[in-house]
Symmetry: D2
Protein backbone atom coordinates (compact mmCIF):
# COMPACT_ATOMS: atom_id res chain seq x y z
CA UNK A 1 0.00 0.00 0.00
CA UNK A 2 1.89 3.01 -1.20
CA UNK A 3 -0.90 5.51 -0.73
CA UNK A 4 -2.57 4.72 2.58
CA UNK A 5 -3.58 8.31 3.07
CA UNK A 6 -6.36 8.36 0.48
CA UNK A 7 -9.79 6.94 1.23
CA UNK A 8 -11.70 5.94 -1.91
CA UNK A 9 -15.26 7.29 -2.10
CA UNK A 10 -16.34 4.33 -4.22
CA UNK A 11 -15.36 0.92 -2.81
CA UNK A 12 -15.59 -0.55 -6.32
CA UNK A 13 -13.04 1.92 -7.67
CA UNK A 14 -10.63 -0.70 -9.03
CA UNK A 15 -13.31 -2.35 -11.15
CA UNK A 16 -14.51 1.04 -12.35
CA UNK A 17 -10.97 1.96 -13.48
CA UNK A 18 -10.56 -1.43 -15.19
CA UNK A 19 -13.90 -1.12 -17.01
CA UNK A 20 -13.04 2.32 -18.33
CA UNK A 21 -9.54 1.29 -19.35
CA UNK A 22 -10.74 -1.56 -21.57
CA UNK A 23 -13.05 0.82 -23.45
CA UNK A 24 -10.05 2.79 -24.73
CA UNK A 25 -9.13 1.74 -28.24
CA UNK A 26 -5.86 3.63 -27.96
CA UNK A 27 -4.65 1.59 -25.00
CA UNK A 28 -5.18 -1.66 -26.94
CA UNK A 29 -3.52 -0.19 -30.03
CA UNK A 30 -0.35 0.73 -28.19
CA UNK A 31 -0.36 -2.52 -26.18
CA UNK A 32 -0.73 -0.88 -22.77
CA UNK A 33 -2.11 -2.86 -19.84
CA UNK A 34 -3.24 -1.86 -16.39
CA UNK A 35 -0.84 -3.52 -13.97
CA UNK A 36 -1.84 -2.05 -10.59
CA UNK A 37 -4.73 -0.02 -9.21
CA UNK A 38 -4.84 1.24 -5.64
CA UNK A 39 -6.70 4.23 -4.21
CA UNK A 40 -4.86 7.23 -5.67
CA UNK A 41 -2.22 5.29 -7.58
CA UNK A 42 -2.33 3.52 -10.95
CA UNK A 43 0.38 1.71 -12.88
CA UNK A 44 0.36 0.96 -16.60
CA UNK A 45 2.90 -1.14 -18.49
CA UNK A 46 3.80 -0.96 -22.14
CA UNK A 47 6.18 -3.11 -24.20
CA UNK A 48 8.43 -1.65 -26.90
CA UNK A 49 7.11 -2.12 -30.43
CA UNK A 50 8.43 -0.99 -33.80
CA UNK A 51 5.04 0.57 -34.49
CA UNK A 52 5.50 2.97 -31.57
CA UNK A 53 8.95 4.33 -32.34
CA UNK A 54 10.34 7.74 -33.16
CA UNK A 55 13.07 8.35 -35.74
CA UNK A 56 15.87 6.84 -33.61
CA UNK A 57 14.06 3.59 -32.91
CA UNK A 58 13.25 4.46 -29.29
CA UNK A 59 9.69 4.53 -27.99
CA UNK A 60 8.02 7.73 -29.22
CA UNK A 61 7.70 10.34 -26.49
CA UNK A 62 4.05 10.67 -27.42
CA UNK A 63 3.47 7.04 -26.52
CA UNK A 64 5.19 7.53 -23.19
CA UNK A 65 2.99 10.57 -22.62
CA UNK A 66 -0.17 8.75 -23.71
CA UNK A 67 0.33 5.90 -21.27
CA UNK A 68 1.57 8.17 -18.48
CA UNK A 69 -1.35 10.56 -18.93
CA UNK A 70 -3.70 7.57 -18.65
CA UNK A 71 -1.98 6.41 -15.46
CA UNK A 72 -2.41 9.91 -14.01
CA UNK A 73 -6.02 10.25 -15.12
CA UNK A 74 -6.97 6.87 -13.65
CA UNK A 75 -5.13 7.62 -10.40
CA UNK A 76 -7.44 10.64 -10.04
CA UNK A 77 -10.46 8.64 -11.21
CA UNK A 78 -9.85 6.00 -8.51
CA UNK A 79 -10.63 8.58 -5.83
CA UNK A 80 -13.74 10.04 -7.45
CA UNK A 81 -17.31 9.13 -6.60
CA UNK A 82 -18.99 6.44 -8.70
CA UNK A 83 -20.97 8.88 -10.85
CA UNK A 84 -18.03 11.08 -11.89
CA UNK A 85 -16.42 11.21 -15.29
CA UNK A 86 -12.79 12.25 -15.57
CA UNK A 87 -11.31 14.90 -17.88
CA UNK A 88 -7.63 15.78 -18.19
CA UNK A 89 -7.42 19.57 -18.18
CA UNK A 90 -3.71 19.78 -18.80
CA UNK A 91 -0.42 18.07 -18.22
CA UNK A 92 3.24 18.89 -18.50
CA UNK A 93 5.83 16.27 -19.23
CA UNK A 94 9.60 16.51 -18.87
CA UNK A 95 11.57 14.03 -20.94
CA UNK A 96 14.63 13.07 -18.91
CA UNK A 97 16.15 10.43 -21.17
CA UNK A 98 15.33 8.63 -24.42
CA UNK A 99 12.71 5.88 -24.01
CA UNK A 100 15.25 3.14 -24.66
CA UNK A 101 14.28 -0.29 -23.43
CA UNK A 102 12.17 -3.39 -23.87
CA UNK A 103 9.32 -2.37 -21.62
CA UNK A 104 8.07 0.65 -19.78
CA UNK A 105 6.29 1.29 -16.54
CA UNK A 106 4.13 4.39 -15.93
CA UNK A 107 3.02 5.35 -12.44
CA UNK A 108 0.42 8.02 -11.67
CA UNK A 109 0.07 9.13 -8.05
CA UNK A 110 -2.41 11.64 -6.66
CA UNK A 111 -0.78 14.58 -4.87
CA UNK A 112 -3.96 16.41 -3.95
CA UNK A 113 -7.47 15.10 -4.51
CA UNK A 114 -10.36 17.53 -4.68
CA UNK A 115 -14.08 17.66 -5.28
CA UNK A 116 -13.57 19.26 -8.71
CA UNK A 117 -9.80 19.41 -9.34
CA UNK A 118 -7.29 16.65 -8.60
CA UNK A 119 -3.55 17.13 -9.06
CA UNK A 120 -1.49 14.08 -9.98
CA UNK A 121 2.17 13.36 -10.57
CA UNK A 122 3.49 10.73 -12.94
CA UNK A 123 6.78 8.93 -13.43
CA UNK A 124 7.76 6.84 -16.45
CA UNK A 125 10.48 4.22 -16.20
CA UNK A 126 12.25 2.35 -18.99
CA UNK A 127 13.44 -1.17 -18.35
CA UNK A 128 16.48 -1.82 -20.52
CA UNK A 129 18.01 -5.29 -20.12
CA UNK A 130 16.66 -5.55 -16.59
CA UNK A 131 17.81 -2.09 -15.47
CA UNK A 132 15.07 0.40 -14.64
CA UNK A 133 15.62 4.10 -15.32
CA UNK A 134 13.44 7.17 -14.78
CA UNK A 135 12.77 8.66 -18.23
CA UNK A 136 9.93 11.15 -17.74
CA UNK A 137 8.05 13.09 -15.08
CA UNK A 138 4.54 14.50 -15.44
CA UNK A 139 2.42 17.02 -13.59
CA UNK A 140 -1.26 16.64 -14.41
CA UNK A 141 -4.50 18.46 -13.58
CA UNK A 142 -7.66 16.38 -13.75
CA UNK A 143 -11.27 17.41 -13.36
CA UNK A 144 -14.28 15.48 -12.14
CA UNK A 145 -17.31 16.04 -14.33
CA UNK A 146 -20.89 15.19 -13.45
CA UNK A 147 -23.99 14.97 -15.61
CA UNK A 148 -22.30 16.17 -18.78
CA UNK A 149 -23.87 14.78 -21.94
CA UNK A 150 -21.56 12.58 -23.97
CA UNK A 151 -18.95 12.29 -21.26
CA UNK A 152 -19.37 9.24 -19.12
CA UNK A 153 -16.68 7.22 -17.41
CA UNK B 1 3.61 32.46 -45.61
CA UNK B 2 2.72 32.75 -41.98
CA UNK B 3 6.26 32.90 -40.60
CA UNK B 4 8.26 35.21 -42.85
CA UNK B 5 10.45 36.30 -39.97
CA UNK B 6 12.52 33.12 -39.67
CA UNK B 7 15.45 32.42 -41.94
CA UNK B 8 16.28 28.72 -42.23
CA UNK B 9 19.94 27.83 -41.70
CA UNK B 10 19.61 24.80 -43.93
CA UNK B 11 17.99 25.50 -47.32
CA UNK B 12 17.01 21.82 -47.57
CA UNK B 13 15.08 21.97 -44.30
CA UNK B 14 11.77 20.76 -45.73
CA UNK B 15 13.31 17.59 -47.13
CA UNK B 16 15.17 16.99 -43.87
CA UNK B 17 11.92 17.26 -41.90
CA UNK B 18 10.16 14.94 -44.33
CA UNK B 19 12.96 12.34 -44.17
CA UNK B 20 12.91 12.29 -40.40
CA UNK B 21 9.12 12.12 -40.25
CA UNK B 22 8.90 8.99 -42.39
CA UNK B 23 11.35 7.18 -40.10
CA UNK B 24 8.87 7.41 -37.21
CA UNK B 25 6.94 4.19 -36.80
CA UNK B 26 4.53 5.91 -34.45
CA UNK B 27 3.43 8.47 -37.05
CA UNK B 28 2.53 5.68 -39.50
CA UNK B 29 0.77 3.72 -36.76
CA UNK B 30 -1.52 6.59 -35.85
CA UNK B 31 -2.02 7.57 -39.50
CA UNK B 32 -0.47 11.04 -39.21
CA UNK B 33 0.86 12.79 -42.29
CA UNK B 34 2.96 15.89 -42.76
CA UNK B 35 0.76 18.39 -44.56
CA UNK B 36 2.86 21.59 -44.55
CA UNK B 37 6.45 22.53 -43.76
CA UNK B 38 7.69 26.09 -43.80
CA UNK B 39 10.62 27.64 -41.93
CA UNK B 40 9.49 27.62 -38.31
CA UNK B 41 6.04 26.14 -38.88
CA UNK B 42 4.89 22.57 -39.42
CA UNK B 43 1.42 21.13 -39.86
CA UNK B 44 0.42 17.50 -39.32
CA UNK B 45 -2.99 15.98 -40.07
CA UNK B 46 -4.56 12.93 -38.51
CA UNK B 47 -7.85 11.19 -39.27
CA UNK B 48 -10.09 9.77 -36.57
CA UNK B 49 -9.77 6.01 -36.11
CA UNK B 50 -11.38 3.61 -33.67
CA UNK B 51 -7.92 2.36 -32.75
CA UNK B 52 -6.99 5.79 -31.41
CA UNK B 53 -9.98 6.47 -29.16
CA UNK B 54 -10.44 7.02 -25.46
CA UNK B 55 -13.33 5.61 -23.47
CA UNK B 56 -15.93 8.00 -24.93
CA UNK B 57 -15.06 7.27 -28.55
CA UNK B 58 -13.28 10.58 -29.12
CA UNK B 59 -9.65 10.75 -30.24
CA UNK B 60 -7.43 9.94 -27.26
CA UNK B 61 -5.75 13.04 -25.85
CA UNK B 62 -2.46 11.17 -26.02
CA UNK B 63 -2.81 10.88 -29.79
CA UNK B 64 -3.56 14.59 -30.06
CA UNK B 65 -0.48 15.25 -27.93
CA UNK B 66 1.68 12.84 -29.93
CA UNK B 67 0.89 14.49 -33.24
CA UNK B 68 1.02 18.01 -31.81
CA UNK B 69 4.37 17.37 -30.10
CA UNK B 70 5.71 16.13 -33.45
CA UNK B 71 4.46 19.27 -35.20
CA UNK B 72 6.21 21.39 -32.56
CA UNK B 73 9.44 19.38 -32.67
CA UNK B 74 9.62 19.57 -36.45
CA UNK B 75 8.85 23.31 -36.44
CA UNK B 76 11.97 23.74 -34.29
CA UNK B 77 13.92 21.24 -36.39
CA UNK B 78 13.15 23.21 -39.58
CA UNK B 79 15.22 26.13 -38.26
CA UNK B 80 18.20 24.10 -37.05
CA UNK B 81 21.43 23.57 -38.95
CA UNK B 82 21.73 20.44 -41.09
CA UNK B 83 23.84 18.52 -38.56
CA UNK B 84 21.54 19.00 -35.56
CA UNK B 85 19.35 16.40 -33.96
CA UNK B 86 16.22 17.48 -32.13
CA UNK B 87 15.13 16.50 -28.62
CA UNK B 88 11.91 17.54 -26.91
CA UNK B 89 12.85 18.59 -23.38
CA UNK B 90 9.32 19.19 -22.17
CA UNK B 91 5.90 20.25 -23.22
CA UNK B 92 2.67 21.28 -21.60
CA UNK B 93 -0.68 20.70 -23.19
CA UNK B 94 -4.05 22.21 -22.29
CA UNK B 95 -7.06 20.23 -23.45
CA UNK B 96 -9.76 22.77 -24.34
CA UNK B 97 -12.44 20.46 -25.70
CA UNK B 98 -12.92 16.75 -26.44
CA UNK B 99 -11.22 15.64 -29.67
CA UNK B 100 -14.52 15.08 -31.43
CA UNK B 101 -14.38 15.03 -35.19
CA UNK B 102 -13.43 13.20 -38.34
CA UNK B 103 -9.99 14.68 -38.78
CA UNK B 104 -7.54 16.78 -36.89
CA UNK B 105 -4.96 19.41 -37.75
CA UNK B 106 -1.94 20.12 -35.57
CA UNK B 107 0.15 23.26 -36.08
CA UNK B 108 3.52 23.89 -34.45
CA UNK B 109 4.96 27.39 -34.69
CA UNK B 110 8.32 28.59 -33.39
CA UNK B 111 8.06 31.48 -30.92
CA UNK B 112 11.77 31.89 -30.24
CA UNK B 113 14.52 29.99 -32.02
CA UNK B 114 17.90 29.59 -30.35
CA UNK B 115 21.25 27.98 -30.86
CA UNK B 116 20.51 25.40 -28.14
CA UNK B 117 16.92 25.97 -26.97
CA UNK B 118 13.93 26.67 -29.19
CA UNK B 119 10.49 27.48 -27.80
CA UNK B 120 7.47 26.45 -29.85
CA UNK B 121 3.71 26.80 -29.52
CA UNK B 122 1.20 24.34 -30.85
CA UNK B 123 -2.51 24.38 -31.64
CA UNK B 124 -4.68 21.36 -32.35
CA UNK B 125 -7.94 21.72 -34.25
CA UNK B 126 -10.73 19.19 -34.68
CA UNK B 127 -12.75 19.21 -37.85
CA UNK B 128 -16.24 17.96 -37.08
CA UNK B 129 -18.63 17.88 -40.08
CA UNK B 130 -16.66 20.64 -41.76
CA UNK B 131 -16.48 22.92 -38.71
CA UNK B 132 -13.01 23.52 -37.30
CA UNK B 133 -12.56 24.02 -33.56
CA UNK B 134 -9.51 24.68 -31.37
CA UNK B 135 -9.19 21.69 -29.02
CA UNK B 136 -5.71 21.95 -27.50
CA UNK B 137 -2.80 24.34 -27.01
CA UNK B 138 0.80 23.33 -26.35
CA UNK B 139 3.93 25.06 -25.11
CA UNK B 140 7.05 23.12 -25.98
CA UNK B 141 10.80 23.40 -25.30
CA UNK B 142 13.07 21.76 -27.83
CA UNK B 143 16.83 21.32 -27.78
CA UNK B 144 19.31 21.05 -30.63
CA UNK B 145 21.82 18.26 -30.05
CA UNK B 146 25.09 17.80 -31.90
CA UNK B 147 27.41 14.82 -32.05
CA UNK B 148 25.51 12.73 -29.54
CA UNK B 149 25.86 9.00 -30.09
CA UNK B 150 22.62 7.27 -30.93
CA UNK B 151 20.71 10.47 -31.57
CA UNK B 152 20.68 11.50 -35.18
CA UNK B 153 17.99 13.39 -37.00
CA UNK C 1 -10.55 45.91 -29.61
CA UNK C 2 -8.32 42.89 -29.83
CA UNK C 3 -10.82 40.37 -28.46
CA UNK C 4 -14.15 41.16 -30.08
CA UNK C 5 -15.23 37.53 -29.84
CA UNK C 6 -15.84 37.44 -26.08
CA UNK C 7 -19.04 38.76 -24.56
CA UNK C 8 -18.66 39.73 -20.89
CA UNK C 9 -21.32 38.32 -18.58
CA UNK C 10 -20.95 41.25 -16.21
CA UNK C 11 -21.14 44.68 -17.90
CA UNK C 12 -19.19 46.19 -14.97
CA UNK C 13 -16.29 43.77 -15.49
CA UNK C 14 -13.61 46.46 -15.87
CA UNK C 15 -14.48 48.07 -12.54
CA UNK C 16 -14.59 44.67 -10.87
CA UNK C 17 -11.10 43.83 -12.16
CA UNK C 18 -9.81 47.23 -11.03
CA UNK C 19 -11.31 46.85 -7.55
CA UNK C 20 -9.77 43.44 -7.06
CA UNK C 21 -6.39 44.58 -8.39
CA UNK C 22 -6.04 47.41 -5.89
CA UNK C 23 -6.67 45.01 -3.02
CA UNK C 24 -3.46 43.11 -3.85
CA UNK C 25 -0.59 44.22 -1.63
CA UNK C 26 1.86 42.39 -3.86
CA UNK C 27 0.95 44.46 -6.93
CA UNK C 28 1.64 47.70 -5.06
CA UNK C 29 4.87 46.29 -3.63
CA UNK C 30 6.28 45.46 -7.03
CA UNK C 31 4.94 48.68 -8.59
CA UNK C 32 2.62 47.01 -11.07
CA UNK C 33 -0.32 48.93 -12.51
CA UNK C 34 -3.29 47.87 -14.56
CA UNK C 35 -2.93 49.56 -17.94
CA UNK C 36 -5.75 48.04 -20.00
CA UNK C 37 -8.83 45.92 -19.35
CA UNK C 38 -11.07 44.63 -22.11
CA UNK C 39 -13.33 41.58 -22.13
CA UNK C 40 -10.93 38.65 -22.13
CA UNK C 41 -7.70 40.66 -22.22
CA UNK C 42 -5.79 42.45 -19.47
CA UNK C 43 -2.50 44.35 -19.60
CA UNK C 44 -0.26 45.13 -16.63
CA UNK C 45 2.86 47.30 -16.68
CA UNK C 46 5.81 47.17 -14.34
CA UNK C 47 8.89 49.40 -14.15
CA UNK C 48 12.36 48.03 -13.41
CA UNK C 49 13.45 48.50 -9.80
CA UNK C 50 16.59 47.42 -7.96
CA UNK C 51 14.37 45.78 -5.34
CA UNK C 52 13.00 43.37 -7.96
CA UNK C 53 16.24 42.10 -9.47
CA UNK C 54 17.94 38.73 -9.71
CA UNK C 55 21.68 38.23 -9.33
CA UNK C 56 22.55 39.78 -12.72
CA UNK C 57 20.61 42.97 -12.15
CA UNK C 58 17.78 42.06 -14.52
CA UNK C 59 14.18 41.88 -13.36
CA UNK C 60 13.69 38.66 -11.39
CA UNK C 61 11.83 36.02 -13.39
CA UNK C 62 9.52 35.61 -10.42
CA UNK C 63 8.41 39.23 -10.74
CA UNK C 64 7.76 38.74 -14.44
CA UNK C 65 5.74 35.63 -13.57
CA UNK C 66 3.87 37.38 -10.76
CA UNK C 67 2.71 40.22 -12.97
CA UNK C 68 2.03 37.96 -15.96
CA UNK C 69 0.05 35.50 -13.83
CA UNK C 70 -2.04 38.44 -12.59
CA UNK C 71 -2.67 39.61 -16.14
CA UNK C 72 -3.82 36.09 -17.06
CA UNK C 73 -5.98 35.68 -13.96
CA UNK C 74 -7.72 39.02 -14.52
CA UNK C 75 -8.24 38.28 -18.22
CA UNK C 76 -10.21 35.20 -17.12
CA UNK C 77 -11.92 37.14 -14.33
CA UNK C 78 -13.15 39.77 -16.80
CA UNK C 79 -15.35 37.16 -18.48
CA UNK C 80 -16.76 35.62 -15.31
CA UNK C 81 -20.15 36.44 -13.78
CA UNK C 82 -20.24 39.11 -11.07
CA UNK C 83 -20.44 36.64 -8.18
CA UNK C 84 -17.43 34.52 -9.18
CA UNK C 85 -14.06 34.45 -7.47
CA UNK C 86 -10.99 33.51 -9.47
CA UNK C 87 -8.34 30.92 -8.59
CA UNK C 88 -5.24 30.14 -10.62
CA UNK C 89 -4.99 26.35 -10.78
CA UNK C 90 -1.67 26.22 -12.57
CA UNK C 91 0.54 28.00 -15.02
CA UNK C 92 3.61 27.28 -17.04
CA UNK C 93 6.06 29.97 -18.04
CA UNK C 94 8.82 29.84 -20.64
CA UNK C 95 11.57 32.39 -20.17
CA UNK C 96 12.73 33.40 -23.65
CA UNK C 97 15.25 36.10 -22.77
CA UNK C 98 16.55 37.89 -19.67
CA UNK C 99 14.17 40.58 -18.37
CA UNK C 100 16.50 43.38 -19.39
CA UNK C 101 14.90 46.78 -19.75
CA UNK C 102 13.41 49.82 -18.09
CA UNK C 103 9.81 48.73 -18.11
CA UNK C 104 7.77 45.66 -18.83
CA UNK C 105 4.38 44.94 -20.31
CA UNK C 106 2.40 41.79 -19.49
CA UNK C 107 -0.61 40.76 -21.58
CA UNK C 108 -3.06 38.03 -20.62
CA UNK C 109 -5.53 36.87 -23.27
CA UNK C 110 -8.28 34.30 -22.88
CA UNK C 111 -8.00 31.39 -25.31
CA UNK C 112 -11.05 29.48 -24.13
CA UNK C 113 -13.52 30.69 -21.51
CA UNK C 114 -15.62 28.20 -19.63
CA UNK C 115 -18.19 28.00 -16.88
CA UNK C 116 -15.64 26.42 -14.51
CA UNK C 117 -12.28 26.37 -16.31
CA UNK C 118 -10.82 29.17 -18.40
CA UNK C 119 -7.57 28.79 -20.33
CA UNK C 120 -5.46 31.91 -20.84
CA UNK C 121 -2.21 32.72 -22.61
CA UNK C 122 0.22 35.40 -21.53
CA UNK C 123 3.07 37.29 -23.14
CA UNK C 124 5.64 39.41 -21.34
CA UNK C 125 7.58 42.11 -23.16
CA UNK C 126 10.63 44.05 -22.04
CA UNK C 127 11.10 47.59 -23.21
CA UNK C 128 14.82 48.35 -23.37
CA UNK C 129 15.70 51.85 -24.60
CA UNK C 130 12.46 52.04 -26.56
CA UNK C 131 12.77 48.60 -28.19
CA UNK C 132 10.16 46.05 -27.18
CA UNK C 133 11.10 42.36 -27.01
CA UNK C 134 9.12 39.23 -26.13
CA UNK C 135 10.74 37.75 -23.00
CA UNK C 136 8.25 35.19 -21.68
CA UNK C 137 5.18 33.18 -22.65
CA UNK C 138 2.68 31.68 -20.23
CA UNK C 139 -0.06 29.08 -20.41
CA UNK C 140 -2.49 29.39 -17.51
CA UNK C 141 -5.52 27.49 -16.20
CA UNK C 142 -7.95 29.49 -14.11
CA UNK C 143 -11.03 28.36 -12.22
CA UNK C 144 -14.20 30.22 -11.32
CA UNK C 145 -15.24 29.60 -7.74
CA UNK C 146 -18.64 30.35 -6.23
CA UNK C 147 -19.74 30.51 -2.61
CA UNK C 148 -16.44 29.37 -1.16
CA UNK C 149 -15.77 30.74 2.33
CA UNK C 150 -12.77 33.03 2.53
CA UNK C 151 -12.39 33.35 -1.21
CA UNK C 152 -14.14 36.38 -2.59
CA UNK C 153 -13.17 38.38 -5.64
CA UNK D 1 20.94 14.00 4.01
CA UNK D 2 17.98 13.65 1.73
CA UNK D 3 19.92 13.55 -1.54
CA UNK D 4 22.94 11.33 -1.03
CA UNK D 5 22.91 10.25 -4.65
CA UNK D 6 24.26 13.48 -6.14
CA UNK D 7 27.95 14.28 -6.14
CA UNK D 8 28.69 18.01 -6.38
CA UNK D 9 31.26 18.98 -9.03
CA UNK D 10 32.29 22.02 -7.03
CA UNK D 11 33.10 21.31 -3.36
CA UNK D 12 32.38 24.96 -2.52
CA UNK D 13 28.86 24.73 -3.93
CA UNK D 14 27.08 25.86 -0.77
CA UNK D 15 29.08 29.08 -0.56
CA UNK D 16 28.55 29.69 -4.27
CA UNK D 17 24.78 29.34 -3.85
CA UNK D 18 24.81 31.63 -0.81
CA UNK D 19 26.87 34.29 -2.64
CA UNK D 20 24.50 34.31 -5.59
CA UNK D 21 21.42 34.39 -3.39
CA UNK D 22 22.48 37.54 -1.53
CA UNK D 23 22.97 39.36 -4.84
CA UNK D 24 19.24 39.05 -5.61
CA UNK D 25 17.40 42.24 -4.71
CA UNK D 26 14.10 40.43 -5.11
CA UNK D 27 14.88 37.87 -2.39
CA UNK D 28 15.61 40.66 0.11
CA UNK D 29 12.48 42.55 -0.96
CA UNK D 30 10.20 39.62 -0.30
CA UNK D 31 12.05 38.65 2.88
CA UNK D 32 13.18 35.22 1.67
CA UNK D 33 16.16 33.53 3.27
CA UNK D 34 18.18 30.49 2.33
CA UNK D 35 17.60 27.94 5.08
CA UNK D 36 19.34 24.82 3.76
CA UNK D 37 21.70 23.95 0.92
CA UNK D 38 22.81 20.41 0.16
CA UNK D 39 24.01 18.93 -3.13
CA UNK D 40 20.90 18.88 -5.30
CA UNK D 41 18.49 20.28 -2.72
CA UNK D 42 17.83 23.83 -1.56
CA UNK D 43 15.32 25.18 0.94
CA UNK D 44 14.10 28.78 1.15
CA UNK D 45 11.84 30.22 3.84
CA UNK D 46 9.57 33.21 3.60
CA UNK D 47 7.40 34.89 6.24
CA UNK D 48 3.93 36.23 5.47
CA UNK D 49 3.82 40.00 4.95
CA UNK D 50 0.99 42.35 4.04
CA UNK D 51 3.13 43.67 1.19
CA UNK D 52 3.12 40.22 -0.47
CA UNK D 53 -0.60 39.48 -0.41
CA UNK D 54 -3.21 38.88 -3.07
CA UNK D 55 -6.76 40.19 -2.86
CA UNK D 56 -7.85 37.76 -0.12
CA UNK D 57 -4.97 38.54 2.21
CA UNK D 58 -3.13 35.26 1.53
CA UNK D 59 0.42 35.22 0.22
CA UNK D 60 0.35 36.05 -3.50
CA UNK D 61 0.87 32.98 -5.68
CA UNK D 62 3.54 34.92 -7.54
CA UNK D 63 5.55 35.24 -4.34
CA UNK D 64 5.22 31.52 -3.71
CA UNK D 65 6.37 30.91 -7.28
CA UNK D 66 9.24 33.39 -7.01
CA UNK D 67 10.69 31.75 -3.92
CA UNK D 68 10.00 28.22 -5.16
CA UNK D 69 11.57 28.95 -8.55
CA UNK D 70 14.66 30.24 -6.71
CA UNK D 71 14.82 27.07 -4.60
CA UNK D 72 14.65 24.99 -7.79
CA UNK D 73 17.21 27.08 -9.65
CA UNK D 74 19.68 26.91 -6.78
CA UNK D 75 19.15 23.17 -6.34
CA UNK D 76 20.31 22.80 -9.96
CA UNK D 77 23.09 25.36 -9.47
CA UNK D 78 24.46 23.40 -6.50
CA UNK D 79 25.38 20.52 -8.84
CA UNK D 80 26.93 22.63 -11.60
CA UNK D 81 30.64 23.25 -12.08
CA UNK D 82 32.11 26.40 -10.54
CA UNK D 83 32.17 28.37 -13.81
CA UNK D 84 28.54 27.78 -14.77
CA UNK D 85 25.76 30.33 -14.68
CA UNK D 86 22.18 29.15 -14.22
CA UNK D 87 19.14 30.08 -16.32
CA UNK D 88 15.58 28.92 -15.70
CA UNK D 89 14.19 27.87 -19.08
CA UNK D 90 10.69 27.17 -17.87
CA UNK D 91 8.63 26.04 -14.96
CA UNK D 92 5.12 24.90 -14.28
CA UNK D 93 3.43 25.42 -10.95
CA UNK D 94 0.27 23.83 -9.62
CA UNK D 95 -1.45 25.73 -6.84
CA UNK D 96 -2.98 23.15 -4.52
CA UNK D 97 -4.32 25.38 -1.77
CA UNK D 98 -4.33 29.09 -0.85
CA UNK D 99 -1.03 30.27 0.67
CA UNK D 100 -2.60 30.77 4.08
CA UNK D 101 -0.17 30.85 6.98
CA UNK D 102 2.46 32.73 8.90
CA UNK D 103 5.49 31.35 7.12
CA UNK D 104 6.31 29.28 4.11
CA UNK D 105 8.91 26.73 3.20
CA UNK D 106 10.02 26.07 -0.39
CA UNK D 107 12.05 22.99 -1.29
CA UNK D 108 13.74 22.44 -4.67
CA UNK D 109 15.12 18.98 -5.38
CA UNK D 110 16.99 17.85 -8.48
CA UNK D 111 15.35 14.94 -10.29
CA UNK D 112 17.88 14.61 -13.10
CA UNK D 113 21.09 16.60 -13.36
CA UNK D 114 22.75 17.06 -16.75
CA UNK D 115 25.65 18.78 -18.40
CA UNK D 116 23.33 21.30 -20.07
CA UNK D 117 19.80 20.63 -18.80
CA UNK D 118 18.82 19.87 -15.21
CA UNK D 119 15.26 18.96 -14.22
CA UNK D 120 14.11 19.94 -10.73
CA UNK D 121 10.94 19.49 -8.71
CA UNK D 122 9.71 21.89 -6.08
CA UNK D 123 7.27 21.76 -3.19
CA UNK D 124 5.91 24.73 -1.28
CA UNK D 125 4.50 24.32 2.23
CA UNK D 126 2.49 26.77 4.29
CA UNK D 127 2.85 26.74 8.05
CA UNK D 128 -0.42 27.90 9.59
CA UNK D 129 -0.47 27.95 13.41
CA UNK D 130 2.18 25.23 13.51
CA UNK D 131 0.52 22.93 10.98
CA UNK D 132 2.40 22.41 7.72
CA UNK D 133 0.47 21.89 4.49
CA UNK D 134 1.57 21.29 0.88
CA UNK D 135 0.31 24.27 -1.15
CA UNK D 136 2.14 24.08 -4.48
CA UNK D 137 4.19 21.76 -6.67
CA UNK D 138 6.61 22.85 -9.39
CA UNK D 139 8.36 21.18 -12.31
CA UNK D 140 11.32 23.21 -13.51
CA UNK D 141 13.86 23.02 -16.35
CA UNK D 142 17.17 24.75 -15.73
CA UNK D 143 20.11 25.28 -18.06
CA UNK D 144 23.81 25.64 -17.33
CA UNK D 145 25.36 28.47 -19.31
CA UNK D 146 29.07 29.04 -19.85
CA UNK D 147 30.94 32.10 -21.11
CA UNK D 148 27.85 34.10 -21.91
CA UNK D 149 28.39 37.85 -21.65
CA UNK D 150 26.31 39.51 -18.97
CA UNK D 151 25.23 36.26 -17.34
CA UNK D 152 27.46 35.26 -14.46
CA UNK D 153 26.45 33.30 -11.42
Amino acid sequence: MENPRFEPQDPAFAQRVQDSFVRQGAMATIGATLSAVTAGEVEIVLPWAQALTQQHGFLHAGMVATALDSACGYAAFSLMPADAAVLTIEYKINMLAPAKGQHFRMVGQVVKPGRTITVVEGRAYANDSGQEKLIATMGCTVMAVFDRAGVHH
